[in-house]
Amino acid sequence: MKKLLMSGNEAIARGVYEAGVRFASAYPGTPSTEIMEEYAKYDGVYAEWAPNEKVAVEVAIGAALGGARALAVMKHVGVNVAADPIFTVSYTGIEGALVIISADDPSMHSSQNEQDNRNYAKFAKIPMLEPADPQEAKEYVKLAFEISEQFDTPVFFRSTTRVSHSKSVVMLSDPLAPRDKNTLTRNAGKYVMVPVNARVRRVEVEKRQQALKEFAETFPENKMEINNPEVGIITAGMPYNYARDVFPEFSYLKLGMVYPLPEKLIREFASKVKKIYVVEELDPYLEEQIKAMGIVVTGKDIFPYTNEFDPGIIKNAINGNMDTSLSPYTDPLAPRPPNLCPGCPHRGLFYALKKSKAYVHGDIGCYTLSYLKPLEGLHSCICMGASIGMAHGMSKALGEKGKGKVVGVIGDSTFLHSGITPLLNMVYNNSDALIIILDNSTTAMTGMQEHPATGYTLLGKESKIVDLKVLVSALGVENINVIDPNNIHEARVAIKEALAFGGPSVIIAQKPCVLFKRANIKPQPSLRVDPDKCEGCKACLDLNCPPISWKKGITKEGSKRKGISFIDETICNGCGLCAQVCKFGAIG
């Protein structure tokens, strides 16, 4: 069999393909995005980007009701968006199979929270599998589809950043031939969740729960390894690897299925070892359930509630040691925060917006990076689509005091994800806030995914382009202005006018992402600073553009200048913003 180095996400995609699954829907989000991108490369699959996770799940439910093996993929917070259909498809079950992948992000490497989505499994009464590495990821996702078919239930598959974005050696298997069982089967009593039917299905869910609990007892991926009987570790997912590395001598119960739990197996393990630690990141999810069985275990008394683990955290917690690793270098090092790219179209817009002194509600995307100094472009950011509702709410609460001072900013992909209904609400309820749609023609933050306004599908087929101006106009917004955000003067005038306008306004700041290959942006010649003209005022530094630096000590006769600006020509792409903000005409 072929052996490949694969990331967790590549392995998941491969597993889905090997399972004969040919239907998937998703919305991109780190650390889940590559699952769909990789899956879409396999021959004969149907894969689509949905505008948001709720739609993705509903599309997959529809496919599964038509008899397909269907997949929906999202990051952990995407499950919040999709929670509504998920909780009720748990009641109905499906005709084919349905697997929902949740890629969680302990430590919030690229997320606004680190919610532990194992809780969703228990909450929605949906079984959940959790692999520990790419090889397991490939095998478990296949098992997830089998469980879904066998028990007529949606199945959750949980990954975390360290599983999705680690790479290791994976053995490939031959893919199953896709079985086309797709057919129209009407069964309204099972699928129309009016109360009278839902009450019947509710009982079925509990019967299924019992059957799944029995299944979990002998599920081969719930594995017991008895070594030293003094200490046993109960764990699941990536933390198993960390613990196994630092304590190879201990006994282990590694749970491949984290919901429902195999109570008899856990009792058997407890009878074989003296002291038990539950090693799990984030919530005491396993710990609380095991303690409720009356089994004495040690968990969050010694392990952190917050952030992902690593081998050292587990070793120190169990040995009762403090971390004693020291760096011989003790001076502070300048941090290296992520930044908007050179030539990014968001930079000019946020520079102009800061001058308006408005309160800016932000949203999720590259532009969230404008929060950092010196642009300081955002004053709030909660979740996808929230900027618009929050701007409206603040504007209403402040009344006259907030007039001309409240703005919401949202990217094109995020607007289509969950910004349309709150904008409709702004029109309906007569808002005074200004919404700026930062339209860079792609889903940039996660790596240039298509969406309904890009003109292409995930499979590369041309499709209708949603015209954002027409869409906004159709929602009832009358004051709409489309601008070029790289023209700072134009942006400032547009923002000023829109803030003075009574009633909802929308500015569409339109300029493709500089990294977006299809936009085919020809880099302009890089700019340079004329050392004779530069007065060292640092105005250009307010743009926080990576090529621009300032060096002290370069003085000029007859000037108070203490130093001058430089532009690193190797990374400047000549967008020209710095030339616009220089009062001395020193950049060109």
């Binding site: 180095l5 680690s166 960390y242 196994r244 690593d310 270098y329 300048a334």
Partner: protein
């Protein structure tokens, strides 16, 4: 000959330097040489000019893709000051390969902070084996500044128990045909550095 004990290597640098590609190539070489290998890194926000690290661990059987503090045997730093950021991860007898290229963080660009002085001298005072050279200049000589990552891999290959033929085979598989020769040259320059 396979070393059975698990060894850990840390790649560090700045988003856009080809760090993840380099650690991929190393993992493929380890796999071809018969080792079990795992690596871990974080994508997403870090791409936008932020710090990037990648852990590579190999041996007969590897569990964790993340290394413990104090366990790294080789640090490959793609940028000079970034080498200082991760010394906590290093064993006292670690080897360090460091690109002497400087990329200023925003606080240094704005004059609010300074770039550390004599990084290489500091590293040499504290670690037994420090190989420091400008990988970008060597890559430029090989034909493209972007091949600096492969130059650094070449330098690292001297510290690892993997045949040169394996490295060359993996480099060939990792680039489109027209870039293979350039990268093989870059790899050789790293070996000679």
């Amino acid at each position: 000959m396979i070393d059975s004990k698990v060894k850990s290597i840390l790649f560090a640098g700045v988003g856009g330097q080809g760090i993840l590609r380099a650690s991929d190539i190393m993992c493929m070489a380890m796999m071809e040489a018969g080792y079990d290998v795992k690596k871990s890194e974080v994508h997403g926000m870090a791409q936008r000019g932020g710090c990037v690290t990648s852990h590579v661990r190999y041996g007969t059987k590897v569990y964790s893709p993340l290394a413990e503090l104090g366990s790294i045997e080789i640090l490959i730093s793609f940028e000079k000051m970034e080498a200082l950021r991760y010394l906590k991860f290093l064993r006292k007898d670690a080897s360090i390969i460091v690109n002497t290229e400087e990329i200023y963080p925003p606080a240094v660009n704005m004059g609010d902070s300074t770039y550390p002085d004599d990084v290489i001298g500091f590293l040499k005072n504290h670690y037994g084996r420090v190989v420091a050279f400008n990988a970008a200049e060597l890559a430029q000589k090989a034909g493209n500044i972007k091949a600096a990552n492969v130059v650094l891999l070449g330098a690292a290959s001297k510290l690892l128990n993997v045949e040169i033929s394996v490295w060359e085979s993996v480099v060939r598989q990792s680039f489109p045909q027209k870039l293979v020769k350039l990268n093989l040259d870059a790899f050789q320059m790293g070996i000679a550095a």
